[in-house]
Amino acid sequence: MPEISLPASLQGVEAVRSVRTPAQLDYTFTAGDATTRFLKGITQKKIIGQQATPDSRVYVPPRGADPELGATTPIEVEVAQVGTVTSFCVVNLQFYGSGMEIPYTSALILLDGADLSIMHLIQEIPADQVRIGMRVEAVWRDDADIEPTLESIKWFRPTGEPDDVNVRIPGEKRGTGLGSWVGGVAPTELVVRNPRTGLGGTVADGGEG
């Protein structure tokens, strides 16, 4: 870096090295019809998905259309408040605007009866014990604090049921890795190794462990 010559008035004073440049977007979010119906269900402590036909995928949260069929989703289906963790992330960094105590876990949860995972927090279990396939249930706020927001569900917690080792990522042909060795049958397709248990892998790399 070239040598900078400063005027006398700035010599010996502490130099500024960084500057705040926040970017703020301040607007009104309009939920639209599908999300409004979903959020009104939340105010009754119901989780309501939508589907295009009685046999097609149930979307939670719904966006009003089935992207596979290109059709609107007029059928409302209440799904269960228990589900299976299909993916998760342990957050170890505190970031601006977050009131969460670290480490905490953010997970994709496939509710029973739904074909799309929702993202939510996992609590009431140490972060390093959260795992794919774990069964979890919704924990709601007190009734007086229920509002039309997904935050009315405070978090999900383990149900204590056995893990669902056959859980699959919705829409994916591949397994999550957990169920691939059930019954000792080697996977014939690419699977994802579970980072906690080491289960999974591929036939090519020798399989389990």
């Binding site: 010559s5 008035s9 705040r20 607007y27 019809d33 409004t36 605007g97």
Partner: protein, 160 residues
């Protein structure tokens, strides 16, 4: 439980205020850093270009040759308006609540103008060529907001 709805059954559509903020901080480098350090110390600095012109706020590179500029010099803290635009209805993120003028002010000893917000009694008080001076923020941290705003200076050198 299944029920078929028509697409307008939701009734009143929900909406809510949403604010997304990215709390960026960025490093300034030595040249812009010196300019911001100057604001904190209530002085203006510019960079001396190869042709001798003084550029305020300072440029890191010579505008003609692209070479590094390394000589920072102090300029005056008053200047003249080179052009301006009157803001009739300030919005929430403007620096002043009342109607004001965006001005380009060329400081004494500088060869380029810089942007500022001029607090004035009205549009008729503003004129190209009028002298202005900064009103400094009480708490300064090395930020462009260290200049609270600019005001007109009358013929006797007093703030109008």
């Amino acid at each position: 439980m299944r029920s078929v709805t028509d697409q307008t059954e939701a009734g009143e559509i929900l909406s809510a205020p949403l604010i997304i903020e990215y709390p960026f901080k960025r490093t300034t480098g030595p040249i812009i850093g010196a300019f911001l350090t100057g604001l904190r110390e209530q002085v203006f600095v510019g960079s001396k270009a190869e042709d001798g012109r003084v550029i305020v706020p300072p440029a890191e590179f010579d505008p003609v040759s692209g070479n590094d500029l390394t000589e920072l010099v102090e300029v005056g803290s008053e200047g003249v308006i080179t052009t301006w635009a009157w803001v009739t209805k300030p919005h929430a993120k403007h620096p002043l609540d009342d109607p004001f003028a965006w001005i380009l002010v060329q400081l004494d000893g500088a060869d380029t103008p810089m942007l500022g917000a001029l607090k004035a009694g009205g549009i008729d008080a503003v004129a190209t060529g009028a002298r202005v001076k900064p009103v400094w923020a009480h708490e300064r941290e090395g930020h462009i907001d260290d200049i609270a705003h600019w005001v007109l200076v009358d013929a006797e050198g007093e703030a109008a």
